[in-house]
Amino acid sequence: MAHLEPQPTLYGLVAEFDNPTALVAAANAARLEGYRQLDAYSPIPIEELHDAIGFHHTRLPLIVLIGGLVGGLGGYALQYWASVSAYPLNVGGRPFHSWPQFIPVTFETTILGAALAAVLGMLALNGLPMPYHPIFNAPRFALASRNRFFLCIEARDPKFDRDATQRFLEGLEPRGVSEVAW
């Protein structure tokens, strides 16, 4: 057994802070120190935080645009096909392709497509639902949904070093630093 590679048992090191200002400052400091594989956890959305951990853009708006276009074109195509080709019905001599009357449904399907893309896209990009994640092993992590703010430097970061990283995090004056097991 001694010849086997040891399984990675450490997900990362996590530091716990009291308020958003301290967390953003710590995330900025970690980035300046050269850490790249880090994530921050907070009970509220913090506008400055995603830039601080180096996550700048999300593809979500593009997904929503595509969802809206698919919804709108699909809704119009459905009405065109049903009213012109599949089941043409003469209503008061109006043309089969009476486009102004197709606008309300097209509008609604556009919104529906875009809204579904926004919600499902957000969940998919976030990888939710995800029943298990190692960060939940961090002590007192239940407070991340109440009043505590956590910064995690992950073990896969090339610059990660068990002792040096711990010293660095302790230098940020957190409430505490602890290991996170896989």
Binding site: S42, H50, E108, A115, L116, M122, A144
Partner: protein, 473 residues
Amino acid sequence: MAEPLEHPHERLAEAGALAGRPAPPVIEPGHTFESVTDKISAIVLTRRTTIGWIGGFLISFLLLNMLLVAIGKLLVTGIGIWGNNVPVGWAFDIINFVWWIGIGHAGTLISAILLLFRQQWRTSINRFAEAMTLFAVACAAIFPLLHTGRPWLAIYWLFPYPNTMNLWPQFRSPLIWDVFAVSTYATVSAMFWYVGLIPDLATLRDRSESRAGRLIYGALSMGWRGSARHWHRYETAYLLLAGLSTPLVLSVHTVVSFDFAVSQLPGWHATIFPPYFVAGAIYSGFAMVMTLAIPLRKFYGLEDFITMRHIHNMTKVMLVTGMIVAYGYMNEAFFAWYSGNPYEGYMMLNRMTGPYAPYYWTLIAINAVMIQLFWFRSVRDNVGLLFVLSLLVNVGMWLERFVIIVTSLHRDFLPSSWDMYAPTRWDFAMYFGTIGLFLTLLFLFIRFLPMISIFEMRTLVPEAKVEEDLRVM
């Protein structure tokens, strides 16, 4: 999310500084992340279920059972048990549909439009207003569905579904537009509500003492962990949903009004209908939010979160939208006279002096005259009186739909086909039954889910703001 106002003059402007009185805060001072979280989650997790809750739930549940009996009777016998018949082919089923859909408008207005306008007072009322929207839309949908008589066949009447008869819905009909508008609205409102709940469900998961609570809230929160990457996408999605819901909410009642305005009937065929219906929807929706908010803040001790600021602002929204509705009434009368069309003129005369005139004048008394009370500061400060007035607004808006629908139909072009309409006991059983359904769902909601958005309330706490010098990196 709504940011705290930074400039004193903005604060004063929003407060109506001309009146020389500072606005009450949107959250009472002294609250912290912990106090906000604990106070709201305790209602669900640790507070004992009160006798009042049990009593209220039982009454609502009885009414809900009356609805089930009424639906059972309807399905066994047919829609002949209702009072509507030629010429009044559409009565309680559409009156109640429009009434409920209208009530459902305030939720999305508060969650979407006020978010885009950065009105931070929306934060403590958006969650239960959205729940109210969902439940109201559910009540609304029951009526047209059951009016088909055989709702299990409605799927191919209403939805474009490839059936063996090769029939397709008539897309030139406002009724089909309505199906798409209402089902889109229900779907988007449900998603908006659920997305807003996810971080709060994670809070309940983390704070629940029981294994069942941790499991259920844990499953519903989908493993939310508050990661900065997740929050960023979450906020983007929430803002986009708000942007999409804003035109949606305005379109829904517009399309509902097309059900009437696109027809040729005097009293219905009017270009004023879309804006007038949308204003009426917001007006009645805010009245329902007020009707619910006043007892909730009292019985659950939420005066810190739902402050007088909210009460004042809701009253002002009702005043503005109510005045737009009153302007709509004036225009209807003006069109009837100015058109010179004898049928239009007679419709209006019949509304004002005919057999249903008392209903017309009651609705005018409520929606055009009574709301003038909202101009007075002493009325806006009197919570008990506002509760009564908001109930009356709901009555007034129900009467408005009754008058628009019944008086336009019961005497149309041919006097030989004139008739009177009266609802039957089954009509009333359905109507009060849906109120039971609405209240039952609402009681369950306030017992099992956080009725105020916890994470958004946390953002209102002073320490939620990151200090300036860290902002640019």
